[in-house]
Symmetry: D2
Subunit: 348 residues, 4 copies
């Protein structure tokens, strides 16, 4: 395939825009369709003025897209809706590969989905074929997948830090506390009072304490790593910055030291292009990955004996969403995995 023709469902949200930002400079992709039902008829630069320099298709309603002309579809729609639309897309063109950035196909157990999202799953058959798109751990399955459920931003940050440790049996999976912090773009572009500049600026707010929908996704993957069901603490906080996410994970060790954890992570990610384990003493910070697909993880000994602290950072819109979706596309289409994703972090 010379060029992958891609469509973006829900292109008027931040993840949609960041996908376009990256895809427009991807050497093998071409943005061929953009949908945004509430903005249908507008140009992308009317909706996102920072894309004024691009020639892009006009926004249309998703119902009017000719799916036969597309190779890959990225979805940044709200949950629930997504299940129905993706089912329709795949019915129209079963050869399309779908990279879903919504929450709709991440939970393998549709009962858990129903419990956390408040309605029955609307495409349970598709759920069965969906592959969880945490690239570093599901690469083989993604290669063959037609529907990739890209992880949430928080789960990506948390799981990249925790899966190798859980798999290696170095930590107690029943005592995981994840204190998470996110920039405001994680809340999306829809109009909400708490994301106004004056509300979120110059202040710090916890939210969804112990009931955020990313918790079951984290638990699903930790459970898969240890072979037993687990319950984690996951407490997110809204930080006065646009991009960036940091998870501080407080862990109880099983006969291991912080250095053991760092070694296990370094070993797990040796050769990975995007996941870097920081040297001892180096502090990850979101500034180090802003605008990029990179992840940085650091490990620290706790003062409480037998405990350690693991800190992981990423850009919620890139490795936490659009970047990882493109990384999965690269894998699924047999391209160089880093194609179009090597932009360096923007600092300051």
């Amino acid at each position: 395939m010379e060029t992958i023709r891609i469509g973006v469902l829900g292109a008027s949200g931040y993840t949609g825009a960041d996908l376009v930002r990256l895809a427009a400079r991807h050497p093998k992709a071409k943005v061929a369709a953009l949908t945004a039902n509430t903005h249908a008829g507008k140009t992308m630069s009317e909706v996102f003025p920072h894309l004024f320099m691009l020639e892009l298709p006009r926004l249309v309603e998703w119902e009017s897209v000719d799916w036969s002309g597309l190779d890959a579809v990225f979805c940044g729609l709200p949950h629930g809706t997504t299940q129905e639309i993706i089912a329709a897309v795949l019915a129209a063109n079963p050869a399309i590969k779908v990279f879903d950035m919504s929450a709709d196909f991440r939970l393998r157990d549709t009962g858990v989905y129903a419990e956390w999202y408040g309605h029955a799953h609307r495409a349970p058959d598709l759920q069965k074929e969906a592959v969880y798109g945490l690239t570093e751990f599901y690469r083989d399955k993604i290669r063959a997948a037609r529907l990739v459920a890209c992880p949430g931003c928080y789960p990506t940050a948390a799981l990249l830090a925790l899966i190798p440790l859980a798999r290696a049996g170095l930590i107690n999976a029943e005592d995981i506390v994840i204190d998470a912090k996110s920039g405001v773009s994680g809340a999306g572009r829809s109009l909400k009072q708490n994301t106004l500049f004056c509300e979120a600026g110059e202040g710090l707010s916890p939210y969804s304490v112990a009931r955020h929908r990313h918790a079951p996704e984290i638990e699903q993957e930790i459970a898969a790593a240890v072979g037993a069901s687990v319950t984690v603490n996951f407490t997110p906080h809204l930080i006065p910055m646009s991009r960036g996410e940091l998870c501080t994970s407080y862990l109880r060790l099983k006969g291991a030291t912080a250095d053991d954890l760092r070694d296990a992570l370094a070993s797990a990610y040796r050769g990975e292009p995007f996941v870097h384990v920081a040297a001892k003493g180096v502090l990850p910070q979101t500034q180090n990955v802003r605008g990029s697909n990179y992840v940085q993880i650091g490990v620290f000994a706790d003062r409480i004996p037998g405990r350690a602290i693991v800190i992981s950072v990423l850009d919620n819109l890139v490795k936490g969403s659009a970047g990882q979706a493109l990384q999965n596309m690269n894998v699924a289409f047999g391209l160089e995995e880093t194609a179009g994703l090597l932009q360096l972090p923007l600092f300051p």
Copy 2:
């Protein structure tokens, strides 16, 4: 006493400025001396232009102050130095009451001080008479004290949340994880690369992971509450905002529920003018206390059985420093405890 004549040692730092901001409108106090050795000779408004409307004494070197004319001295000097200067001040005028906002007299065990601050305590005799200035718990001792060691900002936020729970035996003191977040003013006004706007802005950085000097102070007071030595996890993060501090404390319960914890806190702070326990479901956020002496505490059940989350917020320069120092002055001089401290939070 008609008017309390106060002096401020180290008036060119943020805590010094905030003390002047509050003291200048205090009904019973008068700012009578301001020292800042590196800025001696300047007016306060040259150093802090936002105080242009005040008539204030010119900044002088601390050696040139006539201590006999002062009733109360507030100290915002760096650690170590403070011990020597306060000893000299009290030698010059033993009737002065000192409200120290530095770290120098907070640790009752001078051995612990030496371990964390890297030098032997320089005024061990004064240390013996110092009273820990967490007003809500040391009010009686503060009344009679000559030297009040006002707590650090983080310890104030953490301890107001934890002491009542530890005293009541509701939590396991050996499993306390405090994930702390602070605005940049907590790092002071001295020139450091990590507090430049471009470094701290639009990003989030952990720092002093598991080795911040406020940890032993927290441990000292939790230990006093439970009658046994304890080690806590304390992990601070720098947040891109100027003021505000939030501690998310992850606790293991001893046969109690989150509701029990909330009740215990509400009971402990009934009648307290500045410490408010939020109703169930209400989320504390730093925006709620900015610029004020108020503290807000909320309690949440964890998803991990037998655990709870307690969130406390304050303004690090007010209740976390200058405000609490003035509150202690009010107590020590027999004034209304809230005098000069009822400014409401500034939002947005």
Copy 3:
């Protein structure tokens, strides 16, 4: 009058909240009624959590207020509506004094109002008795007024800098360029995409270039000062901060120097409690007045001969709105003009 019983129309907006913040600590006022039709039935702390420590009346619909029990009403409602509601309030209790913070009664010429606001004035008779509430220049009329039309935030900042210069004939009124910059709170609390944190943060946007509704208000008062109609340039910009406003006015001099301008301003504001003229070389900045009712004005020579630059700063929610409204209340009720308004700026 022992205590002035005040009502606030539109208490769920930022100006309403700031009025409550100030009024709640005013020595002679009591908040007796709060209206917010879309939030009727809620407590104020549900709508503004930072006011959790206050005992306040519950929010009600304006139609349900008993106006006979109030002495003063402050209005923070949208334009148009305000005219009708204030007419109704004064019909119900003609003894009430109204301090309107909306735009509805600021333009003396109802034709100009109709031109800029797109509908005919709905209370032209009331307009006739309305007094423009720029306290420093309309104090005498405010004393006797029943309806005070408090100026917009931008006009307050611009006019305090320009009126004395225009009156003294020192500047060419036909060549006034006002480059204005405002924090995001100036846009209010209603949900708009451009005031989301991610849209307004880390960036700078001009808006309403040469067509902002505060222009005719500025022109009305400059015209009054020079006795001839004038057209000014007024170009506002949205700045990534919550509070604060700065006007940089570029002026052509009439035989005067920058020093003459500074002298004229200093002379005009001698004895004024809130308006300060900075010494030569001192740069006004919004940080110097944040959260306070103070204004700072500086004058600078231009490099272009015969031109000067005047810079004025204020807090748009205080002297630019709620603070000035209270200042006018103090004047109208014969109180000390500074009562309840001496809070010092919050920095940092």
Copy 4:
């Protein structure tokens, strides 16, 4: 030439880091030497942790570089010093092409340089051969140049807006008022009190009013455009954001309309890859160009007859510094002018 081997003098500043960010992904360039005398011996990622994923040469003192191995040198050193070091570099290897991002060779008149920088020019002979690096206007000379003096960030933003208008005789060059606003990174990474987060955050400050060193540079180029010496007003303001610059230019028209100005700009920049003229009514904002080499210019009619407002935005570290320097390198080495510079703006 297969690969251009580049060296960066002063790589520990923000412009140095941004040059490395861009050069590291440039298809034809290789970062071969990095100097930073105060950080010599460190790795680049110790100084800029966000570059942790790059293999880069270690920082060295500039005296230890082997200049014979380099093809292009970029200079981000302080003024004055630069003149001496570049003279030494060119003496060591006269075949090197130098792209200077400092102020040292921008002013063709060394007398003007001495007046504004307070010391005699230290390389007047080199000054003679220096070409002013405003790419869009000096492309032909840059192709043949050995020393390119890249413009300051403010002059780039102002001149791209003004030169076509001045050349076409559409504006009165004696009445140009440029109100400029910049993010804090424009002040560099050195430790200064006014660029601390707590000082620059949540506030807005004018600085160097009518005496900023970028004024003579703007005047030099406007004068060249109109063939007569000119004096402009140039008033910069510090904005609480890291990157971005916006110039609002207030202009008096010579028989032209705002639409004429827009047409003249559109015509001047037709085919230019980086400079875009916004359609009527579209507002440029710094968010539209953050992190990119793009410039956006908009034109608006003033309410004062015969006047117009031109607004231009860029990223001060990219088109305002490192990006334009690389653009010039591309020109000087005969590469595609956009090579390595097509990163799209990062929003949000």
